[in-house]
Chain length 481, copies 2
């Protein structure tokens, strides 16, 4: 890895040895090397550790660092001062007894690169690595041929599908590097991309049932559930994610025609509306209870009132649609009526018709998030929506998204209000910039203006294969863009 | 662990919590604790890792340090600047996914103490340890009741047998902490103690055959052999160890009456004499070829010419005895004659009759090693031997042993020349001092004048359960002392 200021991630890989050359090299105390597997893998690593020199009279102690991107293996991971657990740093120290020996690393990793530092062998021998293998795992089927009008779009679809592929395990994981966890918000976007690519629809169904099974005692769907060592309630709630459960269920019924599952889970969807209604005023305005997590995006300065209002209206509308699709027309009517009230209340509270912008909070914050969710929530007419989107996107002061997750909804909003060209441009600019930065899979967070930022205080715990960034495949493969 | 200048190893253990109290405690980033298993174990460690707080949203990363003695866990092991591999430092960093989880540490360890440092959990939860178990392994049978005329001698026998017990695995290991390897010199002493305690005679036989099978191309017995991952030649030779193979075989035949094995391995014993004879002058004096390792002891200043002369005569004599016991009387005669010549040559070269001391080298070095091996080699009459031993032991300038291995031969020499009382006193003084220092098992090296010294430059790679120190059981259980 060579420092290179021209690279977004500050390093470029240069080949130090071919595989045949590498297999003849031997390493001792203080030596290190980096292996490049040529693409992202979720899985295991094995190798044969051989010795050169006299009979090995000690174990070999090695440090292995698993990198999704060059900085993971090019820079020291310590000192670490991120906000989340240091246990997420992708490194292992192993001691291999009884050489020569076959080694299979004990955990599952997410990596393209593996850096090996030889802590020690003994003065009498060095080590050689043979049969180094990454054992990739996924529950996705074969990768379909990528689709895209330009080579860049084709590559974008390919990278997006690779991202989804490596996150599809026993559930849709948010990212294989870190949490490896099923979150509602991520699931919705993964499922949308999946319907257009791998079509592992039973995996979506499994995830919907996991959320239905492991909600809180009132029935509020959790933000995430854990699967290992046993499936269980995740203990955390995000208002938008509870609402998006309903949207995800609707999407599933639309994509699969599986009315039966829609009916089976309908009570869960109904219960979300009931529970979320506790925080919605009689005239339809969401009132932040102050003790609940509203996510929308990792952008820390985002004022979320307008966005969550739009998101809830979007979810209510999808729930009414779901009811109609599964033959619950009687229930659909009142939900539609409520959706209308929520749209009107949101419009009254957040739409500045004079300036043509959606604002949020006492400082009248303008953000892409607020505009996009106002559009998606149906708070604005299409011309108003176009105006609001342009007003936000063209305003250099407007708060931008931090995550591909929110970028998805911005693109979805542009499509919704008829700004297809601009939506396509956003794919090329935003996801394209990750391609330009060398992404094999799309990232958890990417702020083009500040590509080395992290919501966790240290980029070495960022996830660089994160499924909520896989939706270019949804837009491209469905012919939307 | 509390620093305590009154302790030989500078720390004393104080109980911080009872087991019931410990099981209610929880630990998070930066916390640490030390478990005391109450005695030395060779084996494995397992525990259940539970969580306290919210649902565990990260792995737990732990550092475990395995200590045979307090300094292993009371002091930092880094920076390490020992001469042997840093991979021997008894520490592991593990990352435990999917909590709660049962953990079984991946390697075999030698320990009484286990220090656990919590590197991180996550801000949301702490960890609790339940069902912590040491799984001890040995091929030795049940421990016989200890024997000794005084409580101190009884305890000495008990600790010596515990030492042997924890080194008896698929072979007689030198020490379970580090090399875990079969060495001839260690084997002889282990076998002697074994005949008087566990009587796992087949294990001795197995080791003799391993040495016979994996010698060099000329047939010289290796100093050590490796068993894992497959049995093989150890690649190192020690002149005294090749000679002691014959002594060990003789001891085995005496202890077991297994004449058949004696006959089967007789060609190997004969071959050692032939090969070693290359470095013995026609009149019987060993001439150091300069390119061969002579061990005798780890004392770095020891001049070894006198000692190796005595040791070789001792081995020749034992080989003649072996020949006679297995019906090879024709071969025994010439070996006896040669033994006599070697004794005379050694006596002429190293016995200073005027001063009554055995000396070695151009500086006429007086050492316990030279005196003891002169006695054991039969270079001196019993009265001369007593004089030589007293001359060395009572001379504060005389070079003392560094290892219990050489102390054994000093005691054996005292017994041989009729100084039983002094031999018993040496047990009490030397091995007794290790008992006073809190030893549960006897150590690889112990210099009473400098108990924190190491042949490797760092006491944290010393072995504190080392089988060559187990011979108090040989002396006590056979009624020799």
């Amino acid at each position: 890895m060579v420092p290179d200021a021209a690279q977004v991630l500050r390093f470029r890989a240069e080949q130090a040895a071919s595989i045949p050359d590498f297999s003849t090299q031997s390493f001792r105390k203080g030596d290190s090397f980096i292996l490049d597997f040529g693409g992202h893998r979720t899985g295991y690593l094995s190798f044969d550790l051989r010795t050169v020199g006299r009979e090995p009279d000690a174990p070999a102690r090695l440090k292995l660092t698993f990198g999704e991107v060059p900085p993971d293996v090019a820079e020291p991971l310590h000192p670490y001062d991120g906000k989340i657990s240091e246990a997420w740093l992708p490194e292992e120290i192993i001691t291999v007894d009884y050489l020569p020996q076959s080694v299979r690393m004990p955990r599952r990793y997410a990596f393209r690169y593996v850096r090996v530092d030889v802590i020690d062998t003994s003065p009498g021998f060095s080590v050689r690595f043979a049969n180094v293998r990454a054992h990739a795992v996924t529950s996705a089927g074969p990768m379909p041929a990528p689709i895209g009008a330009t080579p860049r779009r084709k590559r974008m679809d390919e990278v997006a599908m690779a991202t989804l592929h490596d996150c599809m395990q026993t559930s849709f994981e948010d990212g294989p590097r870190r949490d490896q966890r099923l979150w509602v918000g991520d699931l919705r976007l993964q499922a949308l991309a999946n319907y257009a690519s791998f079509r592992s629809n039973d995996l979506v169904k499994r995830c919907l049932y996991l959320f239905a099974a492991y909600c809180d005692k009132d029935g509020l769907v959790a933000a995430c559930v854990y699967e290992k060592p046993y499936p269980r309630y995740g203990g955390m709630h995000i208002i938008d994610y509870a609402a998006l459960f309903n949207v995800t269920l609707r999407d599933y019924v639309v994509a699969t025609g599986d009315i039966e599952t829609g009916r089976d889970l309908w009570p869960v969807a109904q219960r979300q509306l009931e529970l979320l209604s506790r925080w919605i005023s009689p005239d339809g305005l969401f009132l932040d209870p102050g003790n609940m997590w509203i996510f929308i995006d990792w952008a820390s300065k985002l004022h979320k009132a307008a966005a969550i209002q739009g998101l809830l209206a979007f979810a209510w509308d999808a729930t009414a649609d779901l009811a109609a699709r599964i033959g619950k027309d009687a229930e659909a009517g009142p939900i539609r009526a409520r959706t209308k009230a929520m749209r009107q209340a949101g419009r009254a509270a957040y739409w500045d018709a004079a300036r043509g912008v959606v604002t949020s909070g006492p400082d009248k914050q303008v953000s892409w998030a607020s505009a996009a969710w106002a559009v998606l929530g149906g708070m604005l007419s299409p011309p108003e929506g176009r105006r609001a989107m342009r007003g936000a996107l063209d305003d250099p002061q407007a708060l931008k998204p931090f995550t591909p997750y929110l970028y998805h909804y911005v693109v979805e909003a542009l499509v919704t209000c008829g700004e297809k060209k601009r939506a396509g441009q956003m794919l090329d600019d935003y996801w394209g910039a990750m391609l330009d930065a060398g992404a094999d899979t799309f990232w958890e967070v990417f702020d083009p203006a500040n590509p080395l930022s992290s919501p966790y205080g240290d980029i070495h715990v960022n996830s660089y294969c994160h499924a909520w960034s896989c939706t270019p495949s949804y837009f491209l493969r469905n012919g939307i863009l």
